[in-house]
Symmetry: C2
Subunit: 199 residues, 2 copies
């Protein structure tokens, strides 16, 4: 089976609908998904932004919230604008890396729901612990492992690799040949591309 | 019939596929289209950009050219990356305003084809004159009228009105109630929205 890499950042608004949609769409097309958390902070700082471009450019930000609400309504996804934006997704990203290949995707979806549907703070361990428990993962062990050099380095490496692939925002999707697709709007096209790659 | 306003800028890359698609899609949905040229320069300068954000942010720009080529291929539109980007669309925008309601849309489509399919310079009168002649419009009279205070002011007013509506890029689409949609990707959604508005 062909694989699509899904580059996501927990603070990214449009990563929320992409995360909720990708597994079903990919399965229907016979495509495997590799969920890859990254941090956009270092990538944005390279562009000269100290915060989300949706905060740097208020007209674009106002539009994004309206557009996201419309997308979620069309997709039947609960949505509630977070009080704090962007949120700090560092801890959640490190945890998702630990669960990569096992409970990572389910963890990511639950974190996105907490952030964009339930108005919770995703850097709060009291939010993350129940999610981990619901996935039969051990919160104490995982929160400890999330502070390890191995995991810190793996997240830094993934973010560098994303930048090298030309990724400048999230969600992004890449095929094995490096073809890049950006945005929830391109999810279907990315899956079609990968499904049609020669095996 | 309900009306959708199509805010376009001749230098805008994604306005090209939108311009080529909008009239057929709107007609099929029973929606009227008001073609409204604007200038993004003043709007971008408000955000601190002295050129296109696709030049300000090279990774985003590289992606845009690839994405635009893929979109044009999918839509069956000829595409050739312009040598100069962004082009100066001031003269073309003023001319399109003169033809608003008559030959304006056909003129705009021809200008976009010249720019993004034929690699021509759209600020060149030798490019604009044959287009006007093909529409049975008088190039001399129109190029003169394009320098009039009335037309200059009308373009400035349209650009200010766009900014007041929250427009920060092109193509954009607005419904009569002010609902805003941004980008070629949102064209179908914008038409659906307007078609479902109460008469």
């Amino acid at each position: 089976m062909q694989t699509l890499t899904f580059w996501y950042e927990f603070a990214s608004t449009y990563s929320y609908p992409a995360a909720m949609r990708i597994d079903d769409l990919a399965a229907a097309a016979g495509v495997l998904v590799r969920w890859q958390p990254i941090l956009l902070g270092p990538i944005f700082r390279e562009q000269g932004w100290e915060t989300s471009p949706f905060n740097v450019y208020p007209a674009k930000g106002a539009y994004m919230w309206r557009d996201l609400a419309r997308i979620c309504a069309e997709e039947g996804l609960a949505f509630s604008r977070p009080v704090v934006f962007p949120q700090n997704g560092l801890k959640a990203a490190r945890i998702a890396l630990i669960g990569q290949g096992t409970w990572g995707p389910a963890f990511a979806r639950a974190v996105y729901r907490a952030e964009f549907a339930s108005c919770l703070q995703i850097d709060d361990e009291d939010v993350l612990r129940p999610i981990l428990r619901s996935l039969d993962a051990d919160p104490d062990a995982i929160l400890l492992e999330a502070t390890s050099s191995r995991i810190k380095l793996a997240l830094r490496d993934a973010t560098s690799q994303a930048a090298e692939l030309g990724i400048f925002g999230a969600p992004s999707f890449t095929a094995s040949d490096g073809e890049l697709f950006w945005g929830n709007d391109r999810l279907e096209q990315a899956i079609r591309y990968v499904a049609n790659q020669p095996g």
